[in-house]
């Protein structure tokens, strides 16, 4: 199988302090994560010759991005052979997927990939919001771009747009709020064992069913929690990543496809959207099968998106994700498919995509501490990380074999 992403490996990861309203300089959080990742890989400043990020500087409202490529290059005084940063990618992991291509092509040896947010602090300072999402632009007097088709109709938030995806899924497949709850409850249980997680108090099904609604069928607990923090991943060229500090994680396959319209409300199948295409592409690029995956870190910006990823990736049939997660045993750390082992974004904090890839690496390296998944043979050997929802979707299959 021609699959050039196998020329890429992950050699280190890093994370800054993560939390609510840290009131810290977003660039500093970003750099903390970047430096931690370089040190984790056992590399030196001189080794880093590539830089990639999502979504780059100046995108979205305050808090949506902590730094872009230019700021980080200058702050760390890096000499780069390749760099890329921007919001038009196959979801947040699109930047990492691009980095895999860059090392496979020989443009760079070690690409430092990063994503940082400070939405909790921005909100506390009264600056927040997603102003630029879709092209309206903060400070713009009128709605344009995709926002032209949402704001005049009082659909102010992505919660509204994605609630309609979930409602359609409920309609077509009989999915219920009790089933959706399993994603939130599972995340909360796992967060209790994750040192940096934002919400750790136990959540019962009653708690979930009785919390206030946001936009039906989503309640407060179906929406992720804005936080501050940075995450970084080192993607290295396999043939030069010998004798590394840690055993490199193999990138087995990536998925970056979107075959429907890049729109939140015009996509052909609103119950899956780009996730369907990204996941199908991934499985076409590898001999591994869904049953081989031993830990899955699937985006939960809204709980429903995890259900949509479970189906798209073939862990269950189309429309069957509700029954698949029912009761929660199957997705628990000792279940058939341990899911969102760090609490995801629902309880862990909205690190926005990169947190899932970070956690997949933590699990493969056996660094999860109290939350480490243990299979019969030991630490998991095959992991899936997926990020995005709606028209944004990217996924990566990783192995430590």
């Amino acid at each position: 199988m021609s699959n050039n992403e196998r020329a890429a490996v992950i050699t280190g990861t890093g994370m800054s302090q993560v939390g609510r309203r840290l009131m810290r300089d977003p660039l500093e959080l970003t750099l903390d994560a970047c430096i931690a990742a370089v040190e984790d890989a056992g590399l030196r400043k001189e080794d880093i010759d590539g830089l990639a990020t999502y979504p780059g500087a100046g995108v979205g409202g305050a808090g949506f991005t902590g730094a872009g490529v230019v700021e980080v290059q200058d702050a760390l005084r890096l000499n780069l052979n390749w760099f890329s940063g921007g919001p038009e990618a196959s979801g947040q992991l699109g930047s990492v997927i691009d980095a895999c291509a860059a090392v496979a092509a020989g443009y760079a040896n070690h690409v430092l990939c990063f994503r940082s947010v400070w939405e909790a602090t921005a909100a506390a300072k009264g600056k927040g919001g997603m102003g630029g999402a879709g092209g309206g632009g903060a400070g713009s007097p009128k709605a344009s771009g995709f926002l032209e088709w949402t704001l005049p109709f009082r659909a102010y938030s992505p919660a509204n747009w994605m609630a309609m995806m979930a409602q359609r899924h409920f309609h077509e497949y009989g999915t219920t709020r009790e089933q959706l709850a399993m994603i939130a409850i599972n995340a909360r249980k796992n967060a209790a064992k994750t040192p940096y997680a934002v919400y750790k108090d136990p959540m019962s099904l009653d708690d979930y069913m009785n919390v206030r609604m946001i936009s039906s069928p989503f309640s407060l607990y179906d929406c992720d929690v804005p936080c501050d923090g940075g995450t970084a991943i080192i993607v290295s060229r396999k043939e030069i990543a010998k004798d590394m500090k840690k055993k490199p994680i193999q990138v087995e396959a990536i998925g970056s496809a979107i075959h429907g319209r890049p729109s939140w409300d015009q996509f052909d199948d609103m119950t899956t959207m780009a996730l369907r295409d990204a996941a199908a592409m991934l499985w076409k690029r590898t001999d591994y099968k869904p049953k081989d995956v031993e830990v899955a870190e699937l985006y939960d910006g809204f709980s429903f998106l995890t259900l949509a990823w479970l189906e798209a990736l073939g862990f269950c049939g189309k429309g069957e994700s509700g029954p698949y997660v029912e009761g929660g045993a199957r997705i628990a750390p000792d279940g058939e498919l341990p899911l969102n082992t760090n609490g995801g974004q629902l309880s862990g904090g909205r690190l926005h995509g990169y947190g899932f890839l970070h956690e997949a690496c933590v699990q493969l390296w056996g660094e999860g501490g109290e939350r480490q998944v243990k299979k019969k043979h030991g630490d998991p050997k095959v992991a899936l990380a997926a990020a995005g929802g709606g028209p944004l979707g990217g996924c990566m299959l990783l192995s430590s074999e």
Binding site: G129, M130, G131, K142, A143, E148, P152, R212, D265
Partner: protein
């Protein structure tokens, strides 16, 4: 502390910093251009207009300079029947703005003219809790602004059986 121009009462974490319509504080006005004015002014004649390719008959939404199917440029606005069906919906409870009518329904209408031709909108003459997927609806228009900058927001109401 900067106050949100829409929320007025709370710092704006969710409302984009865009000013509300003067005559309806809960809708953010669209930026009307030559390319989209057929949509936002069609309501003056009671028409729900979308751009349509005159060569291959494809309905185009949102408007763009070429037909996405045949890449031709022979495009003109045409009115749909104004009929549609609720493809999905959500009842919004969160107070993004201090509107008096929470929860209110946001609906995604699909039009019979073309599979997948949809519009996010709102319902009138219908209780929020009565909105159902598959419900047959027809267009109505809310007038906003004043001459010469009047525009019309298409909203939907149930079709009587």
């Amino acid at each position: 502390m900067t106050m949100c121009q829409i929320c007025l009462t709370q710092p704006g974490t969710h409302c984009y910093g865009l000013p509300p319509m003067a005559d309806n504080p809960f809708r953010v006005p669209p930026r009307i251009t030559k390319q989209n004015s057929h949509f936002w002014t069609g309501g003056a004649e009671g028409k729900l207009n979308f751009l349509r390719c005159q060569d291959c008959q494809h309905w185009i939404h949102p408007a763009q300079p070429v037909c996405p199917e045949c890449w031709g440029k022979n495009l003109k606005p045409e009115a749909t029947s104004g009929l549609g069906e609720v493809y999905s919906f959500t009842l919004n409870t969160q107070q993004w703005v201090p509107a008096p009518d929470h929860p209110y329904a946001i609906v995604l209408i699909e039009f019979p003219e073309q599979k997948g031709l949809r519009l996010t909108s709102n319902m009138i003459n219908c209780k929020a809790e009565d909105v159902k997927i598959g419900m047959k609806v027809k267009v109505a228009f809310e007038e906003h602004g004043s001459d010469p900058k009047k525009f019309y927001v298409p909203v939907f109401e149930p079709v009587e059986n």
